[in-house]
């Protein structure tokens, strides 16, 4: 019996060791112990302290248990009863008071980290980010720069000399989600009808991944998060490129012709109103444009031009925004700079022509439960739209 128990404990200890080694060796980029920002560091230090204390308690209690089980097992043939002991005030007091002391220490340590992380002052140099959770993707807004993007968050690296923490306000457009990038900090829930706050100051450049951590519906598992931490220069360049609006590829009756990539501030679509910097007539509307160039509707030509025509004449623009064009939908991700992103569908597939084509054909093939419907367009139309999207750099 005693050997059996010790054997089991040994197996468990070995298993734990193996698991720890596996965990270390695995190329995991989401371990909570490989932290890369101040809040994550503080949480990590706290966790080591707690692990230490609880580990000691476990060793103490379990060795007492093993000792008692081995020492006080009934010997064969012994049918007498042991002396009956009913309790002892001193001993019971001691194992009441010692835990109280441990808890005081644990609580004070926790409270220090809790207040220092949660109530941190926002420095002047902070970057504002608005995070909006959607079923099943992320919208990121940079109100200081009028930039809107989706699923891939870019942050500048922060250092002691040049702190540039991101202070994020999080809210949801539909149900509850939770923002979690383990290497950069703890999670914060993303609730509709409420704004939560969190901050992080990534101290290393690179890609940090995470995902939604609050069950939010069928595709909860595929609501992935990617945070790119750039050098300050890269970040600046990224912001500048994201601020550009896209152009209508057709000459408009009475409108100016603007080529793609020409600078015009991307104001997102605040309040759902198209806000193009040129104070020209509302650029166009699907109906008027349909009257101007009818032939494009059936065109077999696969080009960005025809793609944009289909994009703007089918339901795409009900949900998607391409800044600078008539596409001002807000239900789905902003596509203005789609090709600047590495992935589509909230990190589910890499952003390649083939994947885009399949995605437009039937999103449910790639991500069952996705809110984007299959539009049942012809293959040609799908290819045309893809060609257009590929130009949204």
């Amino acid at each position: 019996m005693k050997l059996g128990l010790i054997f089991v404990r040994c197996i468990i200890a070995t298993a734990l060791l193996v698991v720890c080694l596996c965990a270390r060796a695995a190329p995991s980029s989401t371990s909570i112990f490989s932290n890369k920002s101040t809040p994550a560091h503080e949480l990590n230090d706290l966790s080591m302290f707690v692990l230490g204390i609880t580990g000691l308690i476990f060793l103490g209690v379990s060795s007492l248990l093993v000792y008692a089980i081995v020492k006080f097992r009934a010997r064969k043939g012994d049918t007498t009863e042991p002396p009956q002991v009913f309790g002892s005030m001193q001993i019971e007091l001691s194992w009441t008071i010692i835990p109280i002391l441990i808890i005081v220490v644990l609580f004070l340590t926790t409270a220090r980290v809790l207040f220092s992380v949660q109530d941190a002052q926002k420095p002047k140099s902070a970057l504002d980010v608005i995070v909006v959770g959607h079923q099943f993707w992320w919208e990121f807004r940079y109100p200081q720069y009028n930039v809107v993007t989706a699923n891939e968050l870019h942050l500048p690296v922060s250092s002691k000399e040049a702190p540039r923490p991101a202070f994020m306000k999080l809210t949801s457009a539909d149900v509850m989600h939770s923002f979690w990038v383990p290497q950069l900090g703890g999670k914060t829930d993303v609730l509709p009808n409420r704004v939560n706050e969190m901050w992080m100051d990534p101290q290393e450049t690179g890609l940090f991944v995470g995902q939604c951590a609050q069950f939010c519906g069928p595709e909860h598992a595929k609501m992935l998060l990617r945070v790119y931490v750039d050098t300050p220069e890269q970040f600046k360049a990224w912001i500048v490129s994201q601020q550009k609006a896209q152009a209508e590829l057709m000459p408009l009756p009475g409108g100016p012709h603007r080529s793609a990539g020409e600078t015009a501030p991307n104001l997102g679509n605040q309040g759902g109103v198209v806000n193009i910097a040129t104070n020209k007539v509302p650029p166009n509307s699907p109906t008027t444009r349909g009257n101007v160039i009818t032939s494009l509707g059936e065109s077999q030509e696969i080009s960005a031009r025809t793609g944009q025509y289909v994009f703007e004449h089918e339901a795409c623009i009900s949900c998607h925004t391409v800044s600078g064009t008539v596409a001002t939908g807000r239900y789905g991700p902003d596509l203005t700079h789609l090709m600047s992103r590495d992935t589509i569908a909230s990190g589910v597939a890499s952003n390649t022509k083939e994947n885009l084509l399949n995605w437009i054909g039937d999103p449910n093939q790639i991500k069952p439960g996705s809110m984007m419907p299959a539009m049942h367009l012809s293959d040609t139309q799908n290819k045309q739209i893809t060609a257009y999207l590929m130009t949204l750099k």
Binding site: A26, I32, F58, I103
Partner: protein
């Protein structure tokens, strides 16, 4: 044999039965009828336990499907819709249709016997509570046929067992599966409240002569505490279900965030039920340990007054800790600090209990029968579960751990490692009392070792994907995160546990017909249920017992050293 007593297996004498013999053997129809109309606490207890075992198998199968799906990354064994239904039903079933009925079953069976009563205080309420609970279970499962889930897809509830608003609101959950969930949980709550009232009334009003509260065995004490918790905790849940149904059908906006409702309100309602619920489930497990550990250590429980105080203390403290499920929801730092402290306080009374069990073992002569094996495993697992609980109470660290597989591992450590293990111990311990036959010991040891190995493979390893950033309730995961191997070990362990449970089921059936005859007191135990025959007659005791100490049978067996001499 009286028609109201439990039919004893062939060859078992219920010697104290003084009712006249029936003139002819009963038909099966009469047998079934007698079980349906019964108000006998023992029969209802057994009905509860069988009902719970049935749902243990059902929800266990759901868990196996979940584990197959998670064996490989990007696995297509289950669709996301089916997967979401599986974990929702697994959680809801295990808590409401397996955990509560199992524990109420033992409570029903044991509380009157241990306090020397002839039945519960309200036998008809008892029957009503069981049947409404049974109805709720079958209603919930009927949703597989009648319900439609999120976005009109599939059937059966798929909103997770805590059903966070506003996912449960009509815009996000059309169809009826969420209604099945809400109504089933509501109906189940009515049954639970009925049983809780019954147990409280029984413990406080039906004790036999001489059984002061200070002589009450610990099991009824803990069941009374649990029942108070049920009264306080299940009511908010019932209210929340009513509010949800008002939202869904009468145009209310309690949780409808698009009309100014609050998602946090639901979370508060749910967890003000949900956390005490953990103690509702674990206190009966403690109760079993309080009875089993002394008997197999051959010593009285160490520090009885402290044990009672600690149990009642856990009950009180557990009512003020619910928001530790909500550290990431955006409470103020002060709120987070408060719930950190209150949660940590729970560890003081639970620590007292653990050390008192240790002290009960100390200096005893420990016998390793199957009930004791499970109880010893429980002690180790409970210590670990408690310590991971402390880790989770550290609110700042909880921001990382919350909703990850670490939490899943932690609460399964409590629910399986502590509660299910003690339920198994209780089955081995009281099965002879219920049927008159012993469970097979060799099969029992197979069951135990398979269960221990499977349990530790599954739930020890499950902590690690959580630390590596794996959130719970995801139907699949990315291959590059380092979670694959860990998930495979977890799945294999899960199947070993499933085999262990099948061994138990086989043992239960096999031993009912072939087991050794138990006699009234097979474990040489000390509380009143062992003073009557196995199985007891409908009226439990021929003569109302009179007790003079906490261990009346010890006094009988050791007249030279009675407990009553020390009171």
């Amino acid at each position: 044999m009286g028609t109201d007593s439990i039919p004893a297996p062939h060859g078992i004498e219920t010697g104290l039965d003084r009712t006249g013999p029936v003139s002819r053997p009963g038909t099966y129809l009469e047998l079934i009828h007698s079980w349906i109309v019964t108000v006998d606490h023992k029969r209802l207890g057994i009905l509860y336990i069988c009902y719970a075992l049935l749902f243990l198998l059902v929800a266990g199968s759901e868990a196996m499907l979940i584990r197959i799906q998670l064996f490989f990354p990007h696995n297509n064994f289950l669709s996301p819709y089916t997967f979401n239904r599986m974990f929702t039903m697994h959680g809801t079933t295990m808590v409401f249709l397996m955990g509560m009925p199992m524990l109420f079953g033992f409570g029903n069976y044991l509380v009157p016997l241990m306090i020397g009563a002839r039945d519960m205080a309200f036998p008809r309420l008892n029957a009503f509570s069981f049947w409404i609970s049974a109805f709720s279970g079958f209603l919930l499962y009927y949703s597989f046929i009648g319900g439609v889930g999120l976005y009109g897809t599939g059937s059966a509830p798929d909103v997770a067992w805590f059903a966070y608003a506003p996912l449960t609101e009509r815009p996000f959950s059309p169809g009826h599966s969420t209604d099945y969930w809400a109504v089933a949980v509501l109906a189940n709550g009515i049954g639970s409240i009925g049983t809780a009232i019954n147990i409280i009334a029984t413990v406080f009003c039906m004790r036999c002569k001489g059984m002061k509260l200070s002589r009450l065995p610990l099991l009824p004490w803990l069941y009374a505490t649990t029942s108070f918790l049920v009264l306080v905790a299940v009511s908010p849940l019932t209210a929340a279900q009513a509010m949800l149904l008002i939202d869904r059908y009468l145009g209310g906006h309690f949780f409808d965030t698009q009309m100014g409702g609050s998602a946090i309100l639901w979370a508060h309602f749910f967890w003000i039920f949900g956390h005490p619920e953990v103690y509702v489930l674990v206190l009966p497990a403690f109760a079993f340990a309080n009875e089993i550990i002394p008997v197999f250590s051959r010593k009285a429980i160490f520090g009885y007054p402290a044990m009672v105080a600690a149990s009642v203390g856990i009950g009180f403290i557990s009512l003020g800790v619910w928001a530790h499920h909500m550290f990431t929801i955006g409470m103020t730092s002060f709120g987070n600090a408060f719930f950190t402290l209150s949660t940590m306080l729970v560890s003081i009374p639970t620590g007292i209990k653990t050390f008192n069990w240790l002290a009960t073992l100390w200096g005893g002569k420990i016998r390793f029968a199957p009930p004791m094996l499970f109880a010893i495993a429980f002690l180790f697992q409970w210590v670990i579960a408690g310590l991971t609980g402390i880790m989770l109470s550290v609110s700042a660290w909880n921001w990382q751990l919350h909703n990850s597989y670490f939490v899943v591992a932690h609460f399964h450590y409590v629910l399986v490692g502590a509660i299910v293990f003690m339920v198994f111990a209780a089955i081995y311990f009281w099965y002879p009392k219920m049927t008159g036959r012993m469970l097979d010991e060799r099969l029992g040891k197979w069951h135990f070792w398979l269960m221990v190995i499977g349990f530790h493979m599954t739930f020890d390893v499950m902590h690690f994907p959580g630390l590596l950033g794996m959130p719970r309730q995801i139907f699949t995961y990315e291959p590059d995160r380092g979670w694959t191997l860990l998930n495979q070990i977890v799945s294999v362990g899960g199947f070993i546990q499933a085999i262990a449970v099948l061994v138990l089921v086989y043992n239960l059936v096999h031993s009912y017909f072939r087991g050794a005859v138990a006699g009234p007191d097979p474990w040489d135990a000390w509380t009143l249920e062992w003073s009557t025959t196995s199985p007891p007659p409908a009226y439990n005791f021929v003569v109302d017992p009179v007790v003079a100490s906490r261990r009346p049978l010890w006094d009988l067996k050791h007249p030279e050293d009675p407990d009553s001499a020390f009171e």
